[in-house]
């Protein structure tokens, strides 16, 4: 089966993490976001892929890692519709194709469910759906039985009726390209499609995150790490004899865990990452490739993107440090949000006992926080800037 993967675009809601950095290359538990999509598709038998990109770094990654399965096309023009049309020539001679968004984190079974449903439904179009609490931030599906009755991107009309978000992977007839060429928007084209052809739903009930906002990286780490069943520790990681490692963890080769460091999994420590002496790494934390955590620090539910670093004596909670971001020593991050602060897409595993919603700092690539700073909850720091 042939598939089209959308991996271009600017990721505006993802700022500052996406400032001069392609969103689909942000890492979750050791893998770029796009890899979750490609692995899922290939494992479901969609192994002839065209990836639409708008950044050389994404092209380079796809060619290097997925060259066997995927060709790369550069996006011409703005918007989803233009992105899809950029790949038109690859799909002309086919009846159906898979359209997948490059920024979805879900288990492989998600893609399998879609392809299974497609084959079993006698090759009708398939739209995947997922129940969510904040449906207004997604495309919305109205269902009747297991058939998609309508699709809309105008929440006001459908909000009270449906909690089903379109889940970002579909099997579609290639006539979708014709609709888009006649200037239909993608939502309108899908809406037209479900009226013309009986379109079945593939109803996904497991974990699913659309990486749209910076804190979605934290949510994705929680789910992916939360589903770790066992530990994997490279024989080439250097772990001090006095370090304590609990719960499921992945520790990659050449990672260094210094004396008295405590890691309470589930957690991920990437290739060549450094965990300083007496540092405490708590649940749902990913320290990606080449990142550094200085001595005597405490890290909870945070993501250190590749080559980012934090100096000694830091407290970092509910935060994401972008590519090569630097936190100087003795930085303290506060994260409890005021009760009336409204944030789309709440984080998982919150609000059970004390019902506090928490978000820390989100640092753009190559940004810097000065030593000794105290960072207020929900702080965004632009790429390459210095704070304060």
């Amino acid at each position: 089966m042939k598939g089209l993967v959308l991996a271009g675009g600017k990721g505006l809601n993802m700022r500052p993490l996406s400032q001069d950095y392609p969103k689909v290359l942000l890492k979750v538990a050791g893998k770029p976001v796009i890899d979750y999509v490609l692995e899922g598709l290939i494992s479901a038998g969609v192994d002839d892929l065209v990836v639409v990109v708008s950044d050389e770094r994404v092209e380079e990654h796809i060619v290097r890692k997925w060259g066997m399965y995927a060709s790369v096309v550069y996006q011409e023009g703005e918007g989803l519709e233009a992105a899809i049309l950029s790949a038109l020539e690859y799909f002309k001679n086919f009846k159906h194709f898979v359209l997948a968004y490059g920024d979805i984190i879900a288990p492989r079974d998600f893609y399998k469910l879609i392809l299974d449903t497609y084959i079993n439904a006698g090759e009708n179009p398939i739209l995947s759906t997922v129940p969510v609490i904040d449906v207004e931030s997604y495309g919305i599906a109205i269902i009747e039985g297991n058939v998609i009755a309508d699709v809309s991107h105008e929440p006001s009309k459908l909000l009270k009726k449906s909690s089903y978000a379109l889940a970002g992977a579909y099997v579609l007839p290639t006539k979708l390209f014709d609709y888009l060429e006649s200037n239909y928007s993608l939502p309108d084209a899908l809406s037209l499609l479900v009226k013309e052809e009986k379109t079945f739903m593939a109803h996904w009930t497991g974990y699913w995150i659309d990486i749209g906002y910076p804190w979605d990286i934290i949510a994705a780490n929680c789910y992916v790490l939360g589903n770790l069943k066992r530990s994997l520790i490279s024989s080439r990681a250097k772990i001090a004899s006095t370090a304590i490692i609990e719960g499921p963890v992945i520790i990659e080769e050449n990672a260094v865990i210094d004396h008295n460091a405590v890691i309470k999994g589930p957690a991920y420590i990437g290739k060549g990452a450094f965990i300083g002496m007496n540092t405490f790494i708590r649940k749902y934390t990913s320290i990606e490739e080449g990142a550094v955590v200085g001595a005597f620090s405490e890290i909870k539910r945070s993501s250190f993107q590749a080559e980012s670093s934090a100096g000694s004596y830091s407290l970092i909670v509910d935060s994401v440090l972008g590519f090569r971001a630097v936190m100087e020593p003795r930085v303290t991050v506060l994260s409890a949000l005021a009760e009336d602060k409204r944030i789309l897409r709440e984080l998982p595993l919150q609000g059970i006992i004390k019902k506090k919603r928490k978000l820390g700092v989100f640092m753009g690539p190559e940004s810097r926080i000065k030593a000794g700073s105290i960072i207020q909850p929900f702080t965004l720091i632009d790429a390459k800037s210095t704070f304060p």
């Binding site: 084959i119 006698g122 609000g351 059970i352």
Partner: protein, 615 residues
């Protein structure tokens, strides 16, 4: 007949492919995989030595196989069928395959032939002799009729198809052409499996997935035949289709195929509830009247059941007391011996069992019946053991339920028992005709109400399920008719998410259970639009004061309650009699999503079986 799901399979192989009974074994294995489509009767037909042999019978595959040895039939061309009847009793004669007068043609069918009455009349007048009451048999006789006029079986088969109106997936074997299986599809699923020296047809891919992963999906209107080495397929207008171009390679785990776009049977069955309720409403017949007359004459009325069905009994028992003023009582069937001397002549026992085979319930009604009591049963399986031993049976029409946790069978049981209580209350003169009509109208809204609640709240219940995943305990509190629903909600959470959950009458919670509540302890409150609404607020307050995480299913317009809750699921204002059905649904979803979040398979809870047939 408005809802029929059956499964068909056909295999034809070269004679050098092993022993002559091997194909029957493959067909039997395939039928096992298709049992989810129906399991009230089963059969096979094979061609051996240019004769057709049929073996079939009523009952589950394993029982029928024990009786007639389906898997020992000889032959290299074999078709099989597993049936699910909702109207017309399943019986040995009505089981598929069906044959013509000469016994040279055998047919298996999934679907409905709408014009079978006319066709049957026409064929009977031409001298055909019918054995069964099924619609399917007409096709065998039609083919027989046209075989005389047409050159070859395929032509005769196609001509017969042109006479048939309705939906179908057919598999046909004819002794004259012993290495072929003829097939056609219209509005019922059919797939072809392409093997080596062996080809397959089936209702669903898992039936043959063990033998080949190369599959052709047959489209509506297409017709053709398979031989051990070839496949012929043509479209509606008779144009041959390039078969090779249609072959797909399937790479999946077999059990995912039959779930129609859902990852688990349980969520599929939760979503099927609107249809199950609608079919149950349509299927209500004179048995309700007869049962209610029996109840009117009764000295005393008892309900007996186990598990989820017991919770349905508690609702039925509540309604009989409250609406009809009949002092009925519910018992758990394994505890029936308590009543073995007290229930007898003049009493009515209402037994509720999804499968109709629950052993404790069956034992209980046998004893009570022997004592002289009359038995009414509520079951989802036509003509199963408990209905057979009852004076009257009211059927739920929920269709096969595969998930071990009862969902659609519970809500349809509630519907049936509510309908029955209304009939009794009306006959007793305790409710006016107008009031009864009004409440029946409310019950008729259940399918659309359930459909709305699922669509609207599945997102919230998913979130709640994920939150509960980290709890090891939960309370479910309700009052009045809400109590049995709380009990069912707690049972669901226990049985599939393995979270210890207890239900209490809300007023009872301060007599002990509240001692366990500490900050973050989840408590689910069921608040109905009834006399207990204000009392429930008090219960919420006392739990909140101890730091409970308060989740409520509450009626619209109860802002004063909603603002005290941590999470609220707001249901339209409903008569409690239909509220029971609607309130059950979010509780099913919460349990489902808690199980999924914890990484468990909700369809196969540990230590539990669908039907408990051992005491």
């Amino acid at each position: 007949m408005n809802y029929v799901a059956c499964g068909i399979i056909g295999v034809t192989a070269r004679k050098n492919r092993g022993a002559s009974s091997r194909i029957a074994e493959i067909v039997k294995k395939g039928l096992e995989k298709l049992e989810y489509r129906g399991y009230d009767s089963v059969g096979v037909a094979a061609i051996y030595d240019n004769k057709i042999v049929v073996r079939k019978g009523k009952g589950k595959l394993s029982e029928v196989n024990r009786r007639v040895k389906l898997d020992k039939v000889l032959g290299w061309t074999v078709v099989g069928h597993t049936r699910w009847a909702t109207h017309g009793a399943p019986s040995d004669v009505n089981a598929h395959p069906h044959i013509d007068c000469s016994g040279r043609i055998a047919v298996v069918h999934n679907g409905i032939i709408q014009n079978y009455v006319e066709l049957k009349k026409e064929l009977t007048s031409k001298g055909h002799h019918f054995r069964s009451e099924t619609d399917t048999e007409v096709l065998a006789h039609l083919i027989e009729e046209y075989l005389e006029e047409e050159s070859g079986v395929f032509q005769a088969f196609k001509r017969a198809l042109r006479r048939v109106k309705g939906s179908y997936a057919f598999g046909v074997i004819v002794a004259d052409e012993p290495d072929k299986i003829f097939f056609a599809r219209k509005d019922s699923p059919l797939v072809i499996g392409v093997g080596e020296g062996m080809n397959f047809i089936a209702s669903d891919i898992p039936a043959f997935l063990e033998y080949t992963r190369n599959v052709i999906i047959v489209y509506d209107g297409e017709v053709g035949f398979i031989t051990p080495d070839s496949i012929y397929l043509e479209d509606e207008s008779g144009v041959p289709i390039d078969v090779k171009a249609r072959i797909r390679k399937i790479d999946w785990t077999p059990d995912m195929a039959k779930k129609e776009g859902y990852p688990h049977f349980m969520i599929k069955e939760i979503h099927e509830q609107p249809r199950a309720l609608r079919d149950t409403l349509r299927g209500l017949d004179e048995s309700v009247e007869k049962a209610s007359e029996l109840i009117l004459e009764a000295r005393r009325v008892y309900f007996v059941a186990a598990g989820t069905s017991y919770h349905a009994c508690l609702v039925g028992d509540y309604l009989l007391n409250v609406l009809a003023g009949i002092p009925s009582l519910s018992m758990i069937s394994s505890e029936y011996k308590k009543y073995r001397r007290s229930i007898g002549e003049g009493d009515v026992v209402i037994a509720v069992s999804q499968s109709g085979e629950t052993i404790d319930t069956l034992m209980a009604i046998r004893v009570f019946k022997k004592n002289g009591a009359k038995v009414i049963s509520v079951s989802n399986i036509v003509d199963s053991a408990i209905p057979r031993e009852s004076h009257y049976t009211i059927y739920t029409r929920a269709g096969p339920e595969i998930g071990v946790a009862a969902t659609k069978t519970f809500t349809t049981q509630l519907l049936v028992l509510s309908w029955l209580s209304l009939s009794v209350a009306e006959k007793m003169g305790k409710l006016s005709r107008d009031k009864v009509e009004k409440l029946r109208k409310e019950l008729e809204k259940a399918p659309s109400l359930v459909s709305d609640i699922i669509a609207r709240y599945e997102g919230v219940t998913k979130k709640l399920g994920e939150e509960l995943m980290n709890s090891s305990n939960a309370f479910y509190l309700g009052r009045g008719i809400g109590l049995p629903i709380a009990m069912e909600g707690a049972l669901k959470l226990k049985e599939i998410a393995y979270i210890h959950a207890e239900a209490y009458p809300a007023g009872e919670s301060k007599h002990g259970p509240i001692a366990l509540v500490e900050p973050g302890f989840p408590v689910v409150f069921l608040v109905f639009e009834d006399e207990w609404k204000r009392h429930m607020l008090g219960n919420i307050e006392e739990m909140k004061a101890r730091g409970a995480y308060a989740i409520g299913v509450i009626p619209e317009g109860s802002d004063f309650i909603e603002e005290r809750l941590d999470k609220a699921i707001v249901i339209p204002k409903l008569e409690p009699i239909v509220g029971t059905i609607v309130y059950s649904v979010p509780l099913q979803l919460i349990a489902y999503y808690a199980a999924v979040a914890k990484g468990y398979d909700p369809d196969k809870p540990r230590n539990l079986a669908k039907t408990v047939t051992v005491e």
